[in-house]
């Protein structure tokens, strides 16, 4: 059980760092996916050790939500690219106060 949580934690950390550090929108997007899947892994791990199906069911929901998020997220990225010919996320800083 422990190793599963360690792996999940490692993946989540990688994802978080990716979001925080990388400037490429696609990569940030992938990092978000990584974090989601790290959470999925933790769900599955707990479901297995506790022998309860609830965790597994939750993973399906998460996958469904992630799919929807991908649809919206990729649309946003395409739109950003169209307007700026770049997907460098630091260039989208119009809301600077």
């Amino acid at each position: 059980m422990t190793h599963i949580l360690v792996l999940s934690g490692a993946l989540f950390t990688l994802g978080a760092l990716g979001v925080l550090i990388r400037r490429n929108a696609i990569v940030m997007f992938m990092s978000v996916e990584l974090m989601l899947n790290a959470a999925n892994l933790a769900f599955v791990g707990f479901a297995r050790s506790r022998e309860a199906l609830g965790g597994q069911v939750f993973v399906f929901f998460v996958i469904a939500v992630a799919a929807a998020e991908v649809a919206v997220g990729l649309a946003l990225i395409v739109s950003i690219y169209r307007s700026r010919s770049s997907i460098d996320i630091d260039m989208v800083s119009d809301l600077k106060g």
Partner: protein, 681 residues
């Protein structure tokens, strides 16, 4: 019909004229002049019928009755109701007012028909009769009111109508304002008298605790000499009121100017009825006058003085109506003097007789004036300065206006006191009473009677005899029969009026005994009667010598002017009374008004209080509020708040880097903090 049932009809006396005036007010323009005249005359005629019924009722029940209509004022001790007092005194006046008033109404239907056309505004015909109806209602209320206050309502009502009717042609007269000024003068002078009446009422209520005649008199008789002081004060102030209404010294100046009204107004209001209200009111208060100590003497002296004073002025007048106006003042002086010496019956007798012949004289004068106006219209219509009232423009009307001449002569002889006409009996009764009480008053009145005969003879000669002195008089023509008929009736009354208190039988004395207790029977002193008659004849003879023997021509001086010298100047200037009042009161009053306006109002109130005190304080206050308070505190407060917000927002704005990573890390840190808190709690 029982007496009570007849008495209960009394309110109709006032209701009939009121209904008549309301009809004329509502539909007067639609029913035409004839309709208006009929409505007004019938209303007064019906009132006369009611008055006669009251007389019948008094025949059954001489004590009279009080007809209660409605409650009016109930405040604590003060209880006043609308109630009509029907007794022999009020019925005497009622018959005179409605009878003479009815005749004048009939005459006025004819007179006003021409007058509205001559003055150029026929649409005012109904208005005249509305005012007339209002006057009749007010006068009848004055006569029948059973308390000082109800009488006062009528008193003010007739004053109002007098004002309205004097200035009936308010846009005419001298400078287009003369008639309006005359109306104002009458109103203002009457207010002075009314003020006295009000004071008398207040003293009455203060002393007796009631305003009802019956209760006051009952109480006064009960108290006897203990009420003498109060009675003196009350009667004195009542006399001030009477002096205003009945045109006595010093308040007589309004009556000559009141001739600005149409002639029927002069006849009805300023000769027959309203001006006698003061005498009626004093006689009504005979009980108090008997108790009072000083007032009767004052009344007698003022009355006699007025009689003489006005008679002298009348001698030098050229306006046909003004001669009669001063004559009226003089005759009212006779009546007031009679009241003063305690000859109440003689006063009422002369009042009624005077109403007959003076109404006759005024109406005949109106007929003369209209005859001359017609003449001017036909023969001399270009002359705009022509004055149809001026006797110097008349002359020779005897042949041109025969009927008017004869009735005028009858009226004049009745006024002069030639037996057996009405004035002879009534005036002699006053003179006989005066000779027994006060020789001074007697001789003054005899002298007045002498002058009366002189100025009446002068007037008759100037108007009717000799040759016409103007084209208008040459072409004058008789008035229509609707005007002559009432004159004939009044002439009959002026001839036979003496019978109502003829010597020997004395019907009026016995009639009034039921109301006025303790009156004595007047004595008929043959010596005085003969003496005054001879005196009157001598006086008329003198007038003939002065005016009749030698033709008085147009443009001549008055023959008396050279003979009397300064006396003529004085009476011609009406003893400068108007000028004196102008100097003493009017100018002082204007100066006071000016001082109040310029100093008190302009300088003190406007410039100082208003501009300096109030305005500057206000400006200073608002200045402080605007600068110190508004700018200093409120504005700076909000400015500070704004600056604070802006600075805070500036600080916060730096957090908004616009970089997604920064937001993301903020979310992470926040998440970590929340989770840590939840775990370590």
């Amino acid at each position: 019909m029982t007496a009570e049932a007849l008495f209960s009809l009394a309110p109709l006396l006032i209701i009939f004229p009121l209904v008549g005036l309301l009809i004329n007010l509502a539909v007067g323009r639609r029913i035409g002049e004839r309709g208006v005249g009929i409505v007004a005359s019938v209303a007064v005629g019906l009132a006369f019928v009611v008055a006669v019924l009251q007389l019948v009722a008094l025949g059954m029940e001489p004590e009279g009755s009080t007809v209660h209509i409605a409650e009016w004022i109930v405040i604590g001790q003060l209880e006043v109701e609308w109630a009509l007092k029907i007794d022999t005194l009020s019925v005497t006046l009622l018959l005179m007012v409605t009878g003479v008033g009815g005749l004048i109404h009939i005459y006025a239907t004819g007179y006003m028909h021409d007058d509205v056309r001559f003055q150029g505004d026929p649409s005012r015909y109904p208005r005249f009769f509305v005012y007339f109806g209002l006057f009749m209602a007010a006068m009848l209320l004055l006569v029948t009111g059973n308390s000082y206050l109800t009488m006062f309502v009528g008193w003010e009502g007739v004053g109002l109508c007098s004002y309205l009717l004097i200035s009936f042609w308010y846009e005419k007269g001298k400078d287009g304002i003369g008639n309006a000024l005359a109306g104002k003068k009458a109103f203002v002078v009457n207010r002075i008298g009314d003020f006295g009446f009000i004071i008398a009422m207040l003293i009455t209520f203060w002393f007796f605790g009631t305003l009802t005649f019956e209760e006051v008199f009952h109480e006064a008789v009960f108290l006897g000499p203990a009420a003498a002081t109060a009675a003196t004060a009350i009667t004195f102030f009542l006399f001030v009121g009477a002096a205003g209404k009945s045109a006595q010294i010093p308040l007589f100046v309004w009556l000559p100017d009141a001739m600005a009204g149409p002639t029927p107004v002069s006849a009805l209001i300023h000769a027959a009825t309203m001006v006698t209200a003061g005498i009626y009111m004093l006689v009504r208060n005979a009980v108090l006058l008997e108790l009072a100590t000083l007032t009767p003497d004052i009344i007698a002296i003022v009355g006699a003085a007025t009689a003489l004073f006005a008679a002298t002025i009348a001698v030098a007048r050229f306006d046909i109506k003004r001669v009669l106006a001063y004559s009226t003042i003089s005759q009212l002086g006779f009546m007031i003097a009679a009241v003063g010496i305690g000859a109440y019956v003689a006063a009422i007798f002369h009042l009624v007789a005077h109403a007959f012949f003076k109404a006759l004289l005024f109406l005949s004068a109106g007929s003369v004036i209209q005859g001359v106006e017609h003449g001017q219209h036909h023969a001399d219509s270009h002359n705009d300065n022509f004055n149809p009232n001026d006797m110097r423009n008349m002359g020779g009307l005897r042949t041109r206006m025969k009927a008017t001449f004869w009735v005028y002569l009858v009226g004049a002889l009745a006024l002069v006191g030639i037996p057996p006409l009405a004035g002879f009996f009534s005036k002699d009764e006053i003179l006989a009473d005066a000779s027994l009480v006060s020789p001074a008053v007697y001789w003054v009145l005899v002298l007045s009677a002498f002058l009366t005969a002189f100025y009446m003879a002068r007037q008759i000669i100037m108007v009717f005899f000799g040759k016409p002195r103007s084209k208008a008089a040459e072409a004058a023509k008789e008035s229509p029969s609707i005007m002559v008929a009432p004159l004939v009736v009044l002439a009959i009354l002026a001839v036979g009026g003496g019978l109502i208190n003829g010597p020997g039988l004395l019907p009026l004395t016995h009639f009034l005994e039921d109301t006025l207790e303790g009156i004595h029977e007047p004595e008929f002193i043959a010596a005085i009667a003969i003496f005054t008659t001879v005196l009157a004849l001598i006086s008329m003879g003198l007038a003939w010598l002065a005016y009749g023997r030698r033709q008085f021509r147009a443009g001549d001086q008055d023959p008396l002017q050279s003979k009397l010298g300064p006396v003529w100047t004085a009476i011609s200037a009406r003893w400068w009374v108007d000028e004196f009042y102008d100097w003493l009161i009017v100018r002082r009053y204007i100066a006071l008004s000016r001082w109040l306006a310029e100093s008190v109002d302009d300088r003190f109130l406007h410039d100082w209080v208003h501009d300096t005190v109030i305005a500057q304080t206000f400006v200073r206050g608002t200045n402080w509020l605007a600068r110190a308070f508004d700018l200093g505190i409120i504005d700076r407060g909000f400015d500070g708040l704004g600056a604070l917000t802006r600075r805070g927002a500036g600080g916060l704005a730096t957090l908004q880097t616009g970089y997604v990573r920064n937001y993301a890390i903020a979310v992470f840190i926040g998440l970590v903090l929340v989770v840590s808190y939840l775990l370590l709690r």
